[in-house]
């Protein structure tokens, strides 16, 4: 089938079997390999992306369900997108990514894209960043490296900065994106 949707603000149109997983379309058709596969069964959250702002496991979503919708992946988070000839640098990062870098929230990094997307959705929800709320928000994302401690710290730090920015008025947007 032919599907049309928006990925990270870019419209795409492709002809693929409707049952093909969103994960494979992102990684293989669109070259967006930032989204990872850890289980293919909806258990690990490594493939987490936002579908119309909602957290989904891209390994469980057939592409037919994406037709007409908006997808955001880790590649869409950075304030400035790295490229082949310009590798990613700290000042490319958005507030949440930056908080992960500062606190040590990414170790091996394989869970990180999914964690960032879950964290981004949590920040966008505007919910108070309590320890329990953050844990709940990332409960579907497994990490084997960090014990989650610094991931939770990172999301809390980004939320604190978001709240401060909000109290300062319209100098930054709600997603905490600079």
């Amino acid at each position: 089938m032919t599907v049309r949707f928006v990925v990270n603000d870019d419209p795409v149109e492709l002809t693929v079997p409707g049952a093909r997983r969103l994960l494979d379309v992102l990684r293989e058709e669109l070259g967006l390999t930032g989204t990872k596969e850890g289980c293919g069964e909806g258990e690990c959250g490594a493939c987490t992306v936002l579908l119309d702002g909602e957290v989904v496991d891209a390994c469980l979503v057939p592409i037919s369900q994406v037709d007409g919708h908006t997808v955001q992946t880790v590649e869409g988070l950075a304030a400035r997108r790295p490229s082949v000839d310009r590798p990613a640098a700290p000042d490319d990062l958005n507030q949440l990514q930056w908080a992960f870098l500062e606190t040590g929230g990414a170790q091996c990094g394989i869970c990180t894209p999914g964690m960032l997307m879950a964290g981004q959705a949590f920040l966008a929800s505007g919910a108070p960043a309590t320890d329990a709320a953050i844990r709940e928000a990332i409960a579907g994302n497994l990490c084997r490296c960090t014990g989650y401690t610094k991931i939770i710290e990172a999301i809390a730090l980004a939320a604190t900065r978001r709240d401060q920015a909000e109290s300062l008025g319209p100098t930054s947007d709600h997603a905490g994106r600079p």
């Binding site: 390999t33 930032g34 990872k36 596969e37 850890g38 289980c39 293919g40 069964e41 258990e43 690990c44 490594a46 880790v74 590649e75 988070l77 790295p82 590798p87 990613a88 700290p90 000042d91 990062l93 507030q95 990514q97 992960f100 870098l101 500062e102 040590g104 990414a106 170790q107 091996c108 990094g109 394989i110 869970c111 960043a129 309590t130 320890d131 953050i134 844990r135 409960a139 579907g140 497994l142 084997r144 490296c145 960090t146 014990g147 989650y148 401690t149 610094k150 991931i151 939770i152 710290e153 809390a156 730090l157 939320a159 604190t160 900065r161 401060q164 920015a165 300062l168 930054s172 600079p178």
Partner: protein, 751 residues
């Protein structure tokens, strides 16, 4: 309550936030992770992210029996085999052996199948659909044989050790209290979130390059050279970004690289072998299950006077690294306590189950769980606080271990214990939980408990291991004036790519950003030994610092000025200068592999943990609420990364203690999916507070010891002690599952 214990202070209200966050580390937190931006933007390239045009996909056809005779491999003639390639043992140019300690594991099974999921046939095809079809048309004919599944019934012993010191009989004769126990721990899966993955690419010179998720490029290099009959240059191993290892990518990648390389040679194209989670759990190595029988004798005055320990580890069907895993388990089995009369006997035996291998802690978590259970049970029998008992028994400088090693320096057992106990307010909480227990009525629904553990962990390879490894680490000032670190040690999340530039910048007096880290590609970097055994920061770090000192001396001698100001000009005049630093034995460290006497490790790291749990008395479920971990790492190189190691290791230990369990049926792992093999989520994870203790090791120029494995040794016994404090029952077998806890509470009530 917002969290953010160690987060830098947020900007004061009223300050205008910059449009982009200001790059730069927070003070006192160490430099930013070097490859962090790539990982955070999704641009870091893991194996499955690498694109090789025209690559085929490979698959492994595996045994569905635990033990069988392989009679025939048949290809259905109705299928068009010209479109795919099939590889069997007969296609291997060299020995059908996965290079390791013993030459017992075939790359592909030939006559006897020895475990479930053993590789038999390889297939590659241009696309996945055709691959699936082809795999379905391969028929493996076998005749079942009776498997050996119980390690205690196995008479095939891969390796055994015996350590004896003092006079055991005299020790027990002096004892007025003897505590015995049998402890069983099961398999644990490393469960890195990135599955094992390898891509093999044929080289123009007839060799093969493999790009993969791996810890030890030179292990893979040796395996390829040997079985594919390649030269050093023809075999090329390149580490891709690696999504976690924990030992699970120490030896396993060798067989996977061989499989991918065989297929790539057969089809003349790149071949991708990317395991899915099911295959990864079903086929790859796990932590060794063990049975530990322990007898401890305590004299009337409370001294520990005898330890008699017997260890049986289940190696699975092939030897892999079992001799070194068992060795480490044996050497640590007494725990960090001085005892004059000790006997430790151990063996690793074969069963018809998938081979077990390296996993963080490497044999020590199994035996130190038993050691700590004994100490806690003795404390209970003596009516003494488990903290006070450890204070009396723990190793102090000058004490002698069962191998006769005198602990001359860098002994921090007492410090980690005191720091953890103090931060967790161990005695205060313990008094409270004791009060709760005394008052608890029959209607109580839940119970709170606190538990303590102490451990030691030998830093670096065991015994003469480092001497045999003969590692080389290099630093080069290139002709165009760049500074490059050349080591085969890999980044897998623990921070190698950050701490090495840091160490070099420090040693050379240059900014860290001026130091490059060469890719882990065997065509470019020397063999600095495997990235295992918490040895990288200590051993390889030490070599790199020595190399820097020599480089600095050479350049400053030539230039007459400080290195930082003169090295670029020096490169312009003298061209490249490369220093290769070879490992030299630590002075005064001597171990005899045949008698198991001497200095088993150049130094030990020390760890203590205090855990608090809530136990649901109806369901037996355990919630681990908090862990305070104090770990002695010699010297902290990078606080954030070091804490990250402790936090991650602690949670793996909590999983080991409470929920992680492989169930077997006829030698097959039953729960070989992520839906059935559970690891802790953010909701299961306790609050973890880390205390880093520094008792430097004089043999390393920077004083650093290891860190990665320490937290793995203490977490499980601390949690099980806390479960006992809450419920009054001792759980001897890991994990302390709800069923085991309920069953033990039942028995307690009936008594």
């Amino acid at each position: 309550m917002p969290v953010g214990r160690t987060a830098p202070a947020p900007p004061a209200p009223g300050t205008v936030l910059p449009d982009t966050p200001t790059p730069g580390p927070a003070p006192g937190r160490g430099p930013l992770r070097r490859e962090g931006p790539a990982k955070l933007t999704g641009t870091a390239l893991y194996t499955d992210d690498l694109v090789f045009p025209g690559a085929w996909h490979g698959a492994t056809i595996r045994s569905t029996e635990a033990r069988a005779r392989l009679l025939a491999i048949e290809l259905d003639p109705a299928f068009d085999w010209s479109k795919v390639v099939v590889v069997t043992a007969g296609d291997i140019p060299g020995p059908n052996i996965v290079n390791s300690i013993q030459d017992d594991q075939p790359i592909l099974a030939t006559d006897e199948i020895r475990h479930h999921a053993e590789p038999i046939v390889l297939v590659a095809a241009p696309d996945r659909a055709l691959l699936r079809q082809a795999v379905g048309q391969v028929i493996v004919r076998t005749e079942p044989l009776a498997p050996v599944l119980d390690p205690l019934a196995s008479d095939r012993v891969f390796v055994h050790y015996e350590i004896e010191t003092g006079d055991l009989a005299a020790g027990f004769a002096e004892a007025t209290l003897v505590i015995e126990g049998e402890y069983r721990v099961g398999h644990q899966e490393q469960l890195y979130i990135e599955n094992n993955a390898m891509i093999a690419v044929p080289r123009a010179d007839g060799g093969v390059a493999v790009h993969g998720s791996l810890q030890c490029p030179y292990y893979v290099h040796n395996a390829l050279k040997r079985s594919l009959l390649l030269t050093d240059e023809q075999a090329q191993v390149v580490q891709a970004e690696t999504g976690g290892g924990f030992g699970g990518k120490e030896e396993y990648p060798s067989i996977l690289a061989l499989h991918a390389a065989l297929l790539a040679r057969a089809c003349g194209r790149p071949v991708r072998m990317i395991y899915d989670r099911h295959e990864d759990i079903a086929a790859t190595t796990k932590r060794h299950p063990a049975v530990v029988r322990y007898r401890s004798g305590v004299a009337a005055d409370g001294r520990l006077v005898a330890q008699d320990i017997e260890i049986v580890m289940d190696a699975g069907a092939y030897c892999t690294l079992s001799p070194v895993v068992l060795s480490r388990g044996t050497l640590h089995a007494g725990g960090p306590y001085a005892c004059p009369n000790v006997r430790i006997r151990s063996r690793a035996v074969a069963t018809n189950t998938p081979p077990n291998g390296a996993f963080r802690g490497f044999g020590a978590p199994q035996t130190e769980f038993a050691a700590e259970m004994q100490v806690n049970r003795i404390a209970e029998a003596l009516g003494e606080s488990p903290l006070d008992l450890r204070r009396r028994w723990l190793y102090r400088p000058g004490d002698t271990t069962p191998t006769g090693q005198v602990l001359r320096e860098s002994v921090a057992a007492e410090e980690v214990l005191e720091r953890a106990a103090e931060a967790a307010e161990f005695e205060r909480v313990r008094a409270r939980t004791a009060g709760d227990r005394a008052q608890r009525g029959p209607d109580a629904r839940s119970a709170h408990g606190i538990g303590l553990a102490l451990a030691w962990h030998g830093a670096g390879f065991t015994g003469s291991g480092e001497v045999h490894l003969a590692s080389v680490a290099s630093v080069e000032l290139t002709a165009d004036g760049r500074l490059v670190i050349l080591i085969g040690s890999t980044e897998m999340g623990q921070g190698t790519k950050t701490i090495f530039p840091q160490l070099v910048a420090d040693a050379l007096g240059v900014p860290m950003d001026d130091v490059e880290f060469a890719p882990q590609d065997t065509a470019l970097v020397p063999d600095s030994g495997p990235t295992v055994a918490s040895r990288t920061a200590m051993v390889v770090g030490g070599l790199v610092i020595e190399a820097c000192r020599r480089l600095r001396a050479v350049v400053e001698e030539r230039s007459g000025g400080p290195f930082a100001d003169t090295y670029r000009a020096d490169a312009g005049t003298h061209g490249a200068t490369r220093i290769d630093q070879h490992f030299r034995p630590y002075p005064g460290v001597d171990f005899d592999d045949t008698t198991y006497r001497g200095d088993a490790y150049p130094a030990f790291g020390w760890a203590s943990a205090v855990a608090e749990v809530d136990v649901d008395l109806d369901t037996g479920e355990v919630a681990v609420r908090s862990v305070v971990a104090a770990d002695d790492v010699g010297r902290v190189i990078h606080p954030v990364l070091a804490e990250g190691q402790v936090e991650g290791g602690t949670l793996q230990a909590v999983g080991y203690a409470t929920i992680e369990e492989i169930k077997l049926h006829d030698g097959r792992y039953l729960n070989d999916r992520l839906a059935t093999y559970l690891i802790p989520t953010a909701l299961d994870a306790p609050r973890i507070s880390t205390i880093l203790v520094e008792a430097p090791f004089s043999g390393a120029p920077h004083g650093a010891k290891g860190i990665g494995e320490l937290p793995m040794d203490v977490g499980a016994p601390a949690v099980v002690a806390a479960i006992h404090d809450a419920t009054g029952v001792w759980i001897h077998d890991l994990p302390a599952s709800p069923e085991r806890i309920l069953a033990a509470m039942d028995t307690l009530v009936r008594r």
